[in-house]
């Protein structure tokens, strides 16, 4: 916990100045930009410097565009530290009285200054003219799409994961037969291939910006489509539609992700793309997570009384039970699902750090709610 001591400001170039605000109180300290540490350590530090050890906090910071963004895991914590120039403004709120609407994505277009944002936070009632749109807790954000396995794929390929989650938005794309040119020992050869033929406006595929018309589909959930018919590939995609991972060779090779040699999980952060696709969160996933079969949505079993429960995986220890509050915006029939793997590990490991628990929880939420009897 005490690894990151208060360091005199501006002592070194690598230091990040931190100005943390909780209620009416400010605290200033600095962090080593090269060794930011982990989020839970940082969180402990904040509780420590504000002397509020038992208060659940919601941590936000103002990013370079002036958006108020949450800090709740290692990734966005590191992002915040690395982009601080050099001052990092933090806004802390009590979780129970948090004002979520201030977080957001469109603040760039709204041209709000951090000060204005702070004003919103400071005087939550003063500026409110109409009730804000209720958006869920940052921890409830779930990914809609992601680019994965950047470190292991050729740069010309892109592996895209689409999360359907039983939401209303359609997957929204079409595929067709076509032919592509391959380099073979015999020279160039025309081979049949499967291509994306159409994106439905407003569909999931279009909104991600990660798939485009004429992208060649190479794999579906790790299985090569070479030699398979259009109907076979269609059936494979539909069978995997709840968690579809498509490896494509984009028709437009100019927007390829440039591989970063020292990080295995590359954050997709082309600013243009972020601006284009503001409504989704880009996250990294470990390959084993992708591979595991546990992303599978579970079948719903309704007992005689009409109560519902999910079919637990007996192999994973049928005793594991998680009580999660059901989220009213979900239709239970469509969305009830959970992640068994996450369940199994979290139930077997007794004490988890906050951070890990947070991750686990989000994993669960990605897959929806769990109702157990």
């Amino acid at each position: 916990m005490n690894k990151n001591h208060r360091v005199p400001s501006s002592r070194t170039l690598s230091a990040v100045e931190v100005k943390s605000k909780f209620g009416a109180e400010f605290r200033r300290f600095s962090l080593d930009r090269s060794k930011p540490g982990r989020f839970d350590e940082f969180y402990g530090l904040l509780q420590h410097v504000h002397r509020i050890p038992n208060v659940d906090l919601l941590v936000g910071y103002a990013d370079i565009h002036g958006d108020l963004l949450p800090i709740n895991n290692d990734d966005n914590y590191h992002k915040a530290i690395s982009t601080a120039a050099p001052l990092l403004r933090l806004f802390l709120q009590r979780k129970e009285e948090a004002e979520y609407s201030a977080f957001g994505t469109n603040s760039l277009t709204r041209k709000k200054t951090p000060a204005a944002l702070a004003a919103v936070l400071l005087r939550p009632d003063a500026n409110r003219k109409k009730p804000p749109v209720i958006i869920s807790l940052p921890k409830d954000f779930r990914p809609v799409s992601s680019i994965i396995d950047v470190d292991i794929l050729p740069e010309t390929h892109r592996r895209v994961r689409l999360y359907k989650h039983g939401q209303e938005k359609p997957l929204g794309f079409y595929i067709r037969d076509g032919s592509s040119v391959r380099v073979t020992p015999q020279g160039l050869e025309k081979v049949p291939g499967i291509f994306i033929s159409r994106l439905v406006p407003g569909g999931l595929a279009e909104s991600t910006g990660l798939l485009a018309v004429n992208d060649e589909v190479l794999e579906v959930n790790g299985i090569e489509v070479a030699g398979k018919s259009l109907d076979q590939v269609t059936d494979m995609m539909i069978a995997n539609s709840h968690n579809l991972i498509i490896t494509v060779k984009p028709a437009n090779q100019r927007n390829n992700v440039v591989r970063n040699s020292n990080t295995s999980y590359y954050s997709y952060s082309a600013p243009g793309a972020v601006a284009m696709t503001p409504s989704h969160i880009i996250q990294n996933f470990r390959p084993e997570e992708v591979e595991s079969d546990d992303d599978e949505e579970e079948d719903l079993v309704i007992e005689t009384g009409g109560d519902m429960r999910l079919a637990p995986l007996s192999a994973a220890g049928a005793t594991a039970s998680y009580s999660m509050p059901s989220l009213p915006r979900y239709e239970p029939h469509l969305n009830l699902r959970h992640s068994n793997g996450a369940m199994a590990t979290s139930s077997s490991v007794g004490s988890l750090s906050t951070n890990e628990r947070g991750l686990e929880r989000r994993n669960l939420e990605e897959d929806g709610t769990v109702i157990t009897l």
Binding site: D149, I152, K164, P170, L171, G172, F173, Y174, I175, R176, D177, S197, R198, E219, V220, N221, G222, I223, V225, K228, S229, L230, D231, Q232, V233, T234, D235, M236, M237, I238, A239, N240, S241, H242, L244, P287, V290, E291, D293, E296, E297, E298, D299, L300, V301, I302, E303, T304, A311, P312, L313, S314, A315, A318, H333, L334, R337
Partner: protein, 942 residues
């Protein structure tokens, strides 16, 4: 790279050996009638019959069980076939004008058919058109050393046999013309060679008949015209009288002429007699005529065609004439060819014993020795499609008791059939007697269920059950064609059973379920009718109990716009011995029944349609349960099959097909191609954009999501892990499974106490794919035995100690859930891995070839790509995969049924089942031997 997720077993050599002993894929035999036959041949010495088809197949049949097949390299119509008598050789002519020689070979003590050589007639000169060398007729000499080939150009070529080398002694028309009187010539050509016939007494003389009518007796040795017969009517065919003193010619005007041959008159102008049987009005051509002498008196004349053009020009007829006896056999499909089985040795008379007629859709054999010329039932070549097949059902290991009762019921049905021996009895059947009796049941469009003996190589009809007689249909009057009231000339007699016209499409059979121990049968049809039948050995006259089950269960806002239910007959109906209807349950709305099952021990039937499912106690005649499975947004299911454009297209297509099938005359080819083009158009969708597929997961309100796909009964643990009891399971198109706990009273209390059903579990598969099959596995992972098997000590009792599990197979994946908690245990996601969808599944017991008592249960699955996968149960590990059916062959895939011991059947044409075997042990294939004496082997002469 992402780890490959397909969980194949490692290459454990021990396991691989076991798998080799268990699984092997073989297509073994084709049952039924060859599709589109085009040629027929018979070898009186070997007593073998050969049928050629439009797809270039040659199928040889002898005594029951003796059959083998050859397939030409090119898919061309076999237009003619001839046996080289006694040599086990077949000559075939294809419509691409090539000649092929086939030999029956002996391989591992069992015969097969192999092509030896082929030949094409070369053009004589450059000027001569290719059509001039087009072969019209073939005549292999009886001593099998020479083949005469008649051509369109009127030439006759001679080939040496069996090498098929052209001899330099071709006979052209100009040589014949020299001896033809000038007044006959008129400067016209003689036309193509229509017939070549070898003189029955002098092998050096052949009779050559030209299209224009000229017939020549030609001496091969002296190359000289012996006799000229100046026929003036266009010639169709020739046949010798046995003595060689006269011959008969048939003509395009519907008549035939008898000519006498004498060496004293080299040129005959007029025939001895000339008859037009169905004159005086214009008649159609007599395509082929046979003249057979009989010891008993006057000769038999058999000819095809010749019907009065105006009144019966569209009939497919064959006339048998002897003295005053005259029968006009009236067939439902075109006559391809016919022959008689008669004495060929030194006997003085032909004395034909049987007439074999190959029709486009069936084979008819007439007993010519018994008065009245009855038909002889064929032991093979069963016309499966006498009415279109709508479903099939296979029963393995049929108890002898049931078998005998079905056979005897079938024997009592046969009228106008003799039980004389089958006349074609060449070869020896070496196949061992089947170890067990197997029944194949086919449901048909006309409401009949046919029972076939599927134990061996030849599928034999056993019994035919008709369900139409319990309903009032518009077509109740009997087929009037043969009935009195019609004029008695010509003396028609309807022969054969091919009848593609269905009285009422609602009668069609959709699902069948038979309890082989109790002889109870359930058949369900297109108009929501579910009929329970009991097997009875006595004739009966009784009323049928009718019950209606409303599957909508007060769902509102739906209107059924489809067909009405079939009105049941009021009053009692007479039933012949056999399966007799007892209870009729009618589903409302009367949509086609999509699933049916029977538990004879509990006296329960379950049935499902696109609207829901029901449970019925047929002992007490009372409905137990009805459940609606409809999704509120599903309008298609409600409106019925006739309301949508798509269905209209479909019905149009079907009617086109029916027309095409019925238009059998070659003359109508133009209109049939038009039909095809139209049907093609109808098949094309409105979509003109390039083929693309939308990627969207299934939603709950997809149409027809409520269709009940499978039903099953099981004695298992549904409510808790300690008490087992009767349960009923239903699966729908949208991935829903309903499990009911049943309260079935004990045997003694059946009459007093009613059956209760209580919903125990409802499972929604999250991937929402249609549930194809549900099966309960016992504590050892074995499928539960059938009803009565345990109580009658016919099967090992299931393990009720260990926990049971339920195997649910959807179109996309297989899953095993533990009972009673319904917790997922194992699964296999087929579609996600392979991109194929499950079409048919079955639980099969595979026994090992290595050891008598080692066997494994497997889940067999046929996919939409036509390949077959076998999985272990309950672990669901892939074992083997075989390509079986072409993926384009949708009707083949849809018709596939598996047996419990690892065989299967699917339709390769409307009239043929291909039988295949997945088991290395259980294989039903023809093993037969034909013995013959082949003087010189072609391999030496070549």
């Amino acid at each position: 790279m992402m780890k490959f997720r397909f969980r194949r077993q490692g290459n454990d050599p021990q396991r691989e050996k076991i798998k080799q002993d268990l699984f092997a894929f073989n297509k073994t035999v084709e049952h039924g009638f060859p599709n589109q036959p085009s040629a027929l041949a018979y070898d009186p010495k070997l007593q073998l019959m050969a049928i050629g088809t439009k797809s270039g197949a040659i199928k040889v049949y002898g005594s029951p069980g003796v059959e083998f097949t050859g397939l030409h390299k090119d898919t061309a119509t076999v237009t003619q076939m001839h046996f080289l008598h006694g040599q086990g050789r077949i000559l075939s002519l294809l419509d691409d004008n090539t000649l092929h020689l086939w030999e029956i070979g002996q391989r591992e003590q069992c015969s097969s058919l192999e092509e030896v050589c082929s030949f094409t007639i070369p053009c004589r000169t450059v000027i001569e058109s290719t059509s001039a060398t087009r072969v019209t007729v073939l005549l292999p000499k009886l001593n099998c050393d020479l083949l005469a080939v008649g051509t369109e150009g009127g030439g006759v070529h001679f080939l040496e046999l069996p090498s098929l080398t052209l001899l330099d002694k071709s006979l052209f028309q100009d040589e014949i013309m020299q001896s033809v009187p000038d007044e006959y010539k008129c400067g016209k050509s003689l036309g193509p060679v229509e017939s070549l016939q070898e003189h029955p007494q002098h092998p050096d003389k052949i009779l050559i008949g030209y299209s224009r009518g000229l017939v020549v007796l030609w001496d091969l040795q002296t190359r000289h015209v012996d006799n000229l017969f100046l026929g003036k009517q266009q010639l169709e065919s020739l046949v010798w009288e046995r003595s060689g003193n006269s011959f008969v010619s048939s003509h395009s005007d519907g008549g035939y002429m008898v000519w006498s041959v004498s060496s004293s008159t080299p040129c005959t102008n007029e025939p001895v007699s000339s008859t037009i049987t169905y004159g005086p009005f214009p008649c159609k051509a007599v395509n082929k005529i046979l003249w057979r002498t009989a010891e008993s008196g006057s000769p038999l004349v058999l000819f095809s065609g010749g019907m009065p053009r105006a009144s019966y020009g569209d009939r497919h007829c064959l006339t048998i004439l002897q003295d005053s006896q005259h029968v006009t056999l009236d067939f439902t499909s075109r006559v391809i060819d016919f022959f008689t089985v008669h004495c060929t040795d030194a006997h003085k008379f032909d004395d034909p014993s049987a007439l074999v007629v190959l029709l486009e859709e069936e084979l008819v054999v007439i007993d010519l020795q018994t008065a009245g010329w009855p038909t002889i039932p064929a032991p093979y070549l069963a016309p499966l499609h006498s009415s279109a097949i709508t479903c099939s059902y296979h029963i393995s290991n049929v108890p002898t008791k049931l078998w005998e009762r079905v056979v005897s019921a079938g024997q009592q049905q046969g009228s106008l059939q003799t039980h004389t021996n089958w006349p074609i009895c060449g070869g020896k059947n070496l196949a061992p007697d089947p170890k067990q009796q197997e029944l194949m049941l086919t449901g048909h469009e006309d409401g009949t269920v046919r029972f076939w003996d599927a134990s061996g190589v030849s599928l034999r009809p056993l019994y035919k059950l008709s369900t139409a007689n319990i309903f009032q249909t518009d077509c109740d009057h009997n087929d009037s064609l043969t009935q009195a009231g019609e004029e008695e000339w010509p003396p028609f007699r309807k022969v054969g059973c091919f009848d593609p016209y269905s009285d009422d499409p609602r009668l069609g059979i959709q699902k069948i379920c038979l309890c082989k121990y109790s002889g109870k049968l359930v058949v369900a049809g297109t108009a929501g009718q579910v009929i329970v039948l009991y097997l009875s050995d006595e004739k009966s006259d009784h009323m049928i109990d009718v019950a209606t089950v409303d599957l909508l269960q007060d769902r509102e806002g739906f209107t059924w716009k489809g067909h009405d239910r079939l009105p049941p007959k009021s009053g009692s109906v007479v039933f012949a011995p056999g399966f007799q209807p007892v209870v009729l349950v009618q589903c409302m709305p009367p949509a086609a029944v999509t699933a049916v099952t029977l538990h004879a021990e509990w006296n329960l039937i379950a049935f499902g349609t696109s609207h829901g499912f029901g449970l019925f106690d047929y002992h007490r005649r009372s409905p137990v349960l009805a459940r609606c499975t409809l999704h509120p947004n599903d309008s298609l299911a409600m409106e019925g099959p006739l309301s949508r454009v798509k269905s209209l297209k479909k019905s149009l297509r079907q009617s086109f097909r029916r027309i095409r099938k019925s238009r059998v005359s070659g003359k109508k080819r133009v209109s049939s191609t038009l039909c095809e083009a139209n049907a093609h158009l109808a098949e094309q969708d409105a979509e003109v954009t390039p083929v693309q597929r939308r990627i969207e997961p299934r939603s709950a309100d997809d149409s027809l999501s409520g269709v009940v796909r499978c039903l099953c009964f099981a004695d298992t643990f549904l409510r808790d892990g300690t008490h087992h009891g009767p349960t009923m399971w239903a699966g729908t198109n949208s991935g829903s499974v309903y499990a009911y706990a049943l309260d079935v009273p004990s045997q003694e209390k059946f009459s007093e106490q009613s059956v209760e059903a209580l919903l125990g579990k409802e499972i929604q598969l999250m991937h929402r794919a249609p549930v194809v099959s549900i099966a309960v596995l016992d504590g050892r992972g074995n499928p539960l035995p059938e009803p009565y098997e345990v109580s009658r000590d016919l099967a090992k009792a299931p393990d009720m100690q260990g926990s049971h599990s339920v195997l649910i197979a959807s179109e996309e994946q297989f899953k095993v859930f533990m009972l009673p908690k319904v917790s997922a245990k194992t699964k296999f996601k087929l579609t996600a891995h392979e991109g194929c969808r499950v079409r048919k599944v079955a639980l099969v017991n595979f026994s090992s070839v290595a050891s008598e008592d080692y066997s494994e249960n497997g889940l067999v699955c046929l996919t939409n790509l036509g390949d077959i996968h076998v999985f272990s149960i309950p672990a669901l590990r892939p074992q083997v995969r075989y390509d079986c059916i072409r993926k384009e062959d949708i009707s083949g895939i849809a018709s596939c049924v598996f047996t419990k011991t690892g065989q299967g059947f699917y339709l390769i044409s409307p009239s043929e089942y291909e039988r295949f075997s997945l088991s290395a042990r259980v294989i039903t294939e023809p093993l037969c031997q034909v013995e013959f004496d082949r003087p010189h082997d072609s391999s030496e002469t070549r």
